[in-house]
C-alpha cells in the first residue's frame, strides 16, 4: 500500500494527490452523511414521538435510505410548463457548489485537510452566501407562488442571520489572529474556545441553524403553510440534490462550530478524526433534536430577534473581547 502511494506521489506530485484523495474522501463522506442523516432524522423523530420509525429494510432500517435514493433515481423528472427553464435547471447545481467547496478547508484531523488556505474561513463564508442565491433562483424560476414566498423568506432570513454569524466567528479570529482553520484548532490546545466565549458559540449556533433553514427557522420550507417552500416544483433526483445539499450544510455548520469552539480534532487517546466526528455529530444531533422541541417562529420575530438581540450582544461581546485581549 505504501509503495503504491510512493509511486503515485512521484508521478503526479504530493499536492495533486492530496487534492484527488481528498476529493474522493469528501464525496464518499457527503453521500454517506446524507444517507445516514435521513435515517437519523427519522429515527430521532420517531423515538421522540414514541414511535419506532424505519425498521423493515435491513437491521434497524439502515438500508432504508439506500432504497429511498434508488426509488428517487427511478422517478420521473417533471419540468412544469411555466418554469424559467434555465434558472430551474441551474438552481440545484448552484446549491451544491458551496457545500462541496467548504470541505477544502475543514481540518478533519492533524494533516487531514485538503489544503490549509490562509483565509480558510473567508472561503467558507464567501461560498455559503451562494446557497441563498440558489434558493432564490429555485423559488423564482419555479413560477409557483409557494416557491416564491419561500424564496423571499429565505432571503430575509439570510440577511438577518449572516451578520451575527460573521461577528461570532470574528471574535474567535480576533483571539487567534489568523483566518486559517488549522491555526484556530491549534490555538485551542490549552482550552476550548467555548469556555472563553460561550455567548459567541451560542450566537453562532443559532445563526447557523437559521442559515440551514432548520426548525425553528424553517420558514422557507414551512411544510404546513407553503407545501414545501422553494422546492415545491422539484421532484425526483433534483429534489434529492436539494436534500443532499441541505443535510451536508447541517454537517458543515456543525463542523465549523467544532473547529472554532470545540477544539476541532483535539482530544486525548482517540485519533483526531474520531474526536472531530464525535463532536460534529453531537451538534448535528442537537440540530435534529431542535426540530421536535421548538415551534416555528413568526416572520417578524425571526427578523427582530436577530437585529434586536443577537447583533447588539455580538457587538458588546466583540468590544469586551477586544478590551480583555489588551489587558
Amino acid at each position: 500500500m505504501t509503495d503504491v502511494l510512493k509511486i503515485a506521489v512521484e508521478a503526479i506530485g504530493q499536492d495533486t494527490l492530496r487534492v484527488i484523495l481528498g476529493l474522493i474522501g469528501v464525496l464518499i463522506l457527503v453521500v454517506i452523511n446524507a444517507l445516514m442523516l435521513t435515517w437519523a432524522e427519522r429515527k430521532v423523530a420517531g423515538h421522540m414521538q414514541r414511535r419506532i420509525a424505519a425498521k423493515e429494510v435491513g437491521p434497524f432500517g439502515l438500508i432504508q435510505p439506500i432504497a429511498d435514493s434508488l426509488k428517487l433515481l427511478g422517478k420521473e423528472l417533471i419540468t412544469p410548463m411555466k418554469v424559467d427553464r434555465v434558472l430551474y435547471f441551474l438552481a440545484p447545481v448552484i446549491c451544491f457548489i458551496p457545500v462541496l467547496v467548504s470541505f477544502v478547508v475543514i481540518p478533519f484531523g492533524e494533516g487531514l485537510q485538503v489544503r490549509d488556505i490562509n483565509v480558510g474561513i473567508l472561503v467558507i463564508l464567501a461560498f455559503s452566501s451562494l446557497s441563498v442565491l440558489s434558493i432564490f433562483i429555485a423559488g423564482w424560476g419555479s413560477n409557483n407562488k409557494y416557491s416564491l414566498i419561500g424564496a423571499a423568506r429565505s432571503v430575509a432570513q439570510n440577511i438577518a442571520y449572516e451578520v451575527p454569524l460573521l461577528l461570532s466567528l470574528l471574535i474567535v479570529v480576533i483571539m487567534v489572529g489568523s483566518l486559517s482553520l488549522k491555526d484556530i484548532v491549534e490555538a485551542q490546545k490549552g482550552m476550548w474556545f467555548i469556555l472563553y466565549q460561550p455567548i459567541a458559540f451560542l450566537i453562532y449556533f443559532i445563526a447557523g441553524v437559521a442559515e440551514t433553514n432548520r426548525t425553528p427557522f424553517d420558514l422557507p420550507e414551512a411544510e404546513s403553510e407553503l407545501v414545501a417552500g422553494f422546492h415545491t416544483e422539484y421532484s425526483g433526483m433534483r429534489f434529492a440534490i436539494f436534500f443532499l445539499a441541505e443535510y451536508t450544510n447541517i454537517m458543515i455548520i456543525s463542523a465549523v462550530a467544532t473547529t472554532f469552539f470545540l477544539g476541532g480534532y483535539l482530544g486525548p487517546y482517540l485519533p483526531g478524526i474520531v474526536w472531530f466526528l464525535i463532536k460534529t455529530y453531537f451538534l448535528v444531533f442537537v440540530i435534529l433534536w431542535f426540530r421536535w422541541t421548538f415551534p416555528r417562529v413568526r416572520f417578524d420575530q425571526l427578523l427582530n430577534f436577530s437585529w434586536k438581540i443577537l447583533i447588539p450582544v455580538s457587538f458588546i461581546n466583540l468590544i469586551v473581547t477586544g478590551g480583555i485581549l489588551k489587558l
Binding site: A152, M237, L325
Partner: protein, 125 residues
C-alpha cells in the same frame, strides 16, 4: 505558497460539484419513465387550476432590513483584516479604534431602532 496553488483545489471542488449534481439527473433522465397526462406539467397549486402566474409584484415588508444589512455586512467584512492584525497586550490605540468603529455601527442600529424600523404594524390599523 502562491495564490493559484492555494486556490486551485477550490476550483477543482467547484467543478466536481457541478458534475456531481448533473450526473444523477442525467442517469435519472435515461432510466425514469415518462408519462403524458393532461395535467402532468401544470404548476402545482394544491390541486386546483393555477390562479394566475407567480411573477407578480408584491410588497416585501422587510426591504429596510435589507438596506441596513448591506451597510452592516460590508462594515463587518472590514473587521476581518482588523482581527488578524489585532495584537495581544499593550498598544491600546488599536482597542480605541475598534471601539469607535463598533460604536459608529451601533449608532446606525440605534438610529434604525428609533426610527421604528423594527416595529411591524398591522395592515388594518
Amino acid at each position: 505558497m502562491d495564490t493559484i496553488a492555494d486556490f486551485y483545489p477550490v476550483l477543482v471542488f467547484a467543478i466536481v460539484a457541478v458534475i456531481f449534481t448533473i450526473a444523477p439527473v442525467v442517469i435519472s433522465y435515461l432510466i425514469a419513465p415518462r408519462t403524458k397526462g393532461k395535467k402532468t406539467y401544470v404548476t402545482y397549486e394544491c390541486g386546483i387550476e393555477p390562479f394566475g402566474g407567480a411573477w407578480i409584484r408584491y410588497s416585501i415588508l422587510y426591504y429596510i432590513y435589507a438596506l441596513i444589512f448591506i451597510a452592516f455586512d460590508v462594515d463587518v467584512l472590514y473587521l476581518f483584516p482588523v482581527a488578524t492584525a489585532y495584537t495581544k497586550k499593550g498598544n491600546t490605540y488599536e482597542f480605541y479604534t475598534l471601539l469607535v468603529f463598533i460604536l459608529l455601527l451601533g449608532l446606525a442600529l440605534v438610529y434604525a431602532w428609533g426610527k421604528g424600523v423594527f416595529n411591524w404594524k398591522r395592515k388594518d390599523q
